[in-house]
């Protein structure tokens, strides 16, 4: 893990309320693995005070992109960063996604902005030609659906679910898991999910029913990001674990909801 200066290459709104920022930062980009994250200091005043965590959305050489939703003061400040601006970045942090031995079929389930780290995961997985990757994207509505073209451009079979049915099926992303793995061997299949907490819970239940191994990327407030403050604890069957050190990716069946 390193603290490094990153230079904003571009930063634009890709969907209403969602921004894509490209940052040149070789020391951190070169070390990043899918599912890991970084923290960025948003501005240099005491408001917001703490750094904000973001996943690696895509990594190319010495640069990475983050895809982020403007929610509060930190992301708002970030959204006003202009090309050329220098950011203070700490990363990569956490353990990221690991692909268990013997898993051939991979299903990625993304809810809302949860898609951000999964694009990087999909790209990495595709490097192994023997693997079969498919994606389910869920969103509030068609307007806020993210990354569909990206996955399809990579040749990945992509199912879509929206809350209002304005795009794809009118259901939750997790409801499509059965359809997505139909015909696949449960024991050779693994699910990766990222999204709001209720979605992760639904994914855990669906995976359990279908008897497939499943991992999810979790969120908590992050302060230090290095395992020092013990602030990002999350409850698991083997006690409290730290999002920033032991996670953010955990086996779903390990979690206590």
């Amino acid at each position: 893990m390193k603290q490094a200066k990153g230079k904003v290459l571009s930063n634009r709104e890709v969907k209403p309320g969602y921004f894509l920022m490209s940052v040149k930062c070789p020391p951190i980009a070169k070390a990043a693995k899918p599912g890991q994250f970084m923290t960025i200091r948003c501005g240099n005043s005491t408001e917001p005070l703490l750094r904000r965590p973001f996943g690696f959305h895509r990594v190319e050489g010495g640069s990475f992109r983050i895809l982020y939703e403007v929610l509060g003061k930190g992301t708002k400040k970030l959204s006003s960063a202009k090309a050329g601006e220098i950011l203070d970045i700490l990363g990569p942090m956490g353990k990221g996604f690991t692909v268990p031995e013997g898993k051939k079929d991979i299903v990625i389930i993304a809810g809302g902005i949860g898609v951000a780290p999964l694009a990087f995961l999909a790209e990495e997985l595709l490097k192994d030609k023997k693997k079969d990757v498919s994606v389910i994207i869920g969103a509030k509505d068609g307007k806020s659906l993210l990354c569909r073209e990206h996955f399809e451009g990579l040749g990945i079979k992509t199912l879509v679910a929206t809350d209002d049915g304005s795009c794809g099926k009118k259901c939750f992303a997790t409801d499509l898991l059965g359809r997505s793995i139909a015909g696949k061997k449960p024991s050779g299949t693994v699910v990766y999910a990222c999204g709001p907490s209720p979605m992760l819970k639904a994914a855990a239940n669906a995976a359990k029913k279908l008897k497939v191994e499943a991992y999810g990327s979790f969120e908590e407030y992050i302060a230090c990001g290095v395992g020092a403050c013990l602030g990002c604890a999350i409850k698991t069957k083997s006690g409290y674990k730290l999002i920033c050190k032991d996670g953010p990716v955990f086996k779903l069946e390990e979690m206590i909801w």
């Binding site: 893990m1 390193k2 603290q3 200091r41 005491t46 408001e47 917001p48 005070l49 703490l50 750094r51 203070d88 700490l90 908590e220 407030y221 302060a223 230090c224 990001g225 290095v226 395992g227 020092a228 403050c229 013990l230 602030g231 990002c232 604890a233 999350i234 409850k235 006690g239 409290y240």
Partner: protein
């Protein structure tokens, strides 16, 4: 010009500079290895340890507030024996002072913790975190001069190492508690620990923190912490270690001018792990610019 001297003495402990990192915000140092040049720090104060392992409070354990943060970690730790076995080997190799923070639920706890650490060579000093509820009685030890002094006395008896007593700001007159700790034999006092605070989610109408209340730290508390350090330093003879919201060199110097012999950096480590290093450099620059050769000349030099 000669290089200004940043050395300070805390009881019998010499620090190469007055910039320490605060308990609970820097783990046991190892977490920041590679990110921070640990040997440059004045001292590392480790996360408070208890006699037995503690799993800590239910999440969420933190939330940001205006220019501050609330935490309710609940002194999660593996217990002092595991600390000595697992963390001390790394700490022992550092060329910076190692201050081990201890916390207990009765006087006995503190005495036994101190006795165990007394035998650990590189536990260079002990900081007593008295902001813990006393299981007999409920109130924190830090809230009354009497109970604070009891803890200090017990620790003092159990060890010859320098003892620093860390005071809580949730009191009527912190300098009174400091005086009691001084009389009970502490070598120094450090202040402030966090202010008890809370935050509420108005949608669910529940507390944001799993523990309902938590400790407020960060720049928000700096004006109060600074006043408390000033009040305390005027009344006690032992060195005062100041902290609370220090973000940069200017903040650190305010504490020193108010009367602190050294400072601790807490929340700022999260905001920027290079904060302590930046402050050390900034102090040298400030002193050079003003032809001050020894940082000790600055301690308590406030003109009122």
């Amino acid at each position: 010009m000669v290089k200004p001297s940043l050395k300070v003495m805390i009881g019998g402990l010499e620090l190469k500079n007055p910039v320490m990192v605060a308990s609970g915000t820097f783990g046991s140092g190892e977490e920041y290895k590679g990110l921070v040049d640990l040997d440059k720090l004045g001292a590392i104060v480790t996360k408070s340890v208890t006699l037995k392992a503690r799993e800590g409070n239910p999440p969420p354990r933190m939330v940001e507030t205006p220019s501050g943060m609330l935490n309710s970690i609940g002194i999660q730790n593996d217990g002092v024996d595991a600390f000595i076995k697992d963390k001390m080997p790394f700490l022992s190799k550092l060329r910076t002072a190692v201050v081990v923070s201890i916390a207990g639920h009765c006087i006995e706890d503190y005495a036994r913790l101190a006795a165990k650490l007394d035998k650990v060579k590189r536990a260079d000093a002990i900081e007593i975190n008295i902001s813990c509820p006393n299981v007999k009685g409920g109130l924190e030890f830090s809230r009354e001069p009497g109970s604070a002094a009891d803890v200090v006395r017990a620790v003092r008896k159990a060890t010859r190492k320098p003892v620093i007593t860390k005071l809580s700001p949730n009191v009527k007159d912190i300098s009174e508690i400091a005086l009691a700790a001084q009389e009970a034999g502490t070598d120094a006092v450090s202040l402030v620990n966090t202010f008890t605070g809370m935050a509420i989610d108005i949608d669910s109408r529940t507390p944001v923190l799993g523990n309902i209340v938590g400790g407020l730290s960060g720049p928000a508390i700096k004006p109060i912490a600074l006043r408390m350090v000033w009040e305390t330093a005027r009344r006690v003879k032992v060195p005062v270690i100041g902290m609370g919201g220090i973000m940069d060199c200017s903040d650190a110097l305010e504490f020193i001018i108010a009367g602190a012999a050294a400072v601790q950096i807490g929340t700022a480590n999260f905001v920027d792990p290079s904060t302590a290093a930046g402050i050390i450099g900034g102090m040298e620059k400030y002193m050079r610019g003003r032809k001050i050769n020894d940082i000790k000349e600055l301690t308590g030099c406030l003109k009122t």
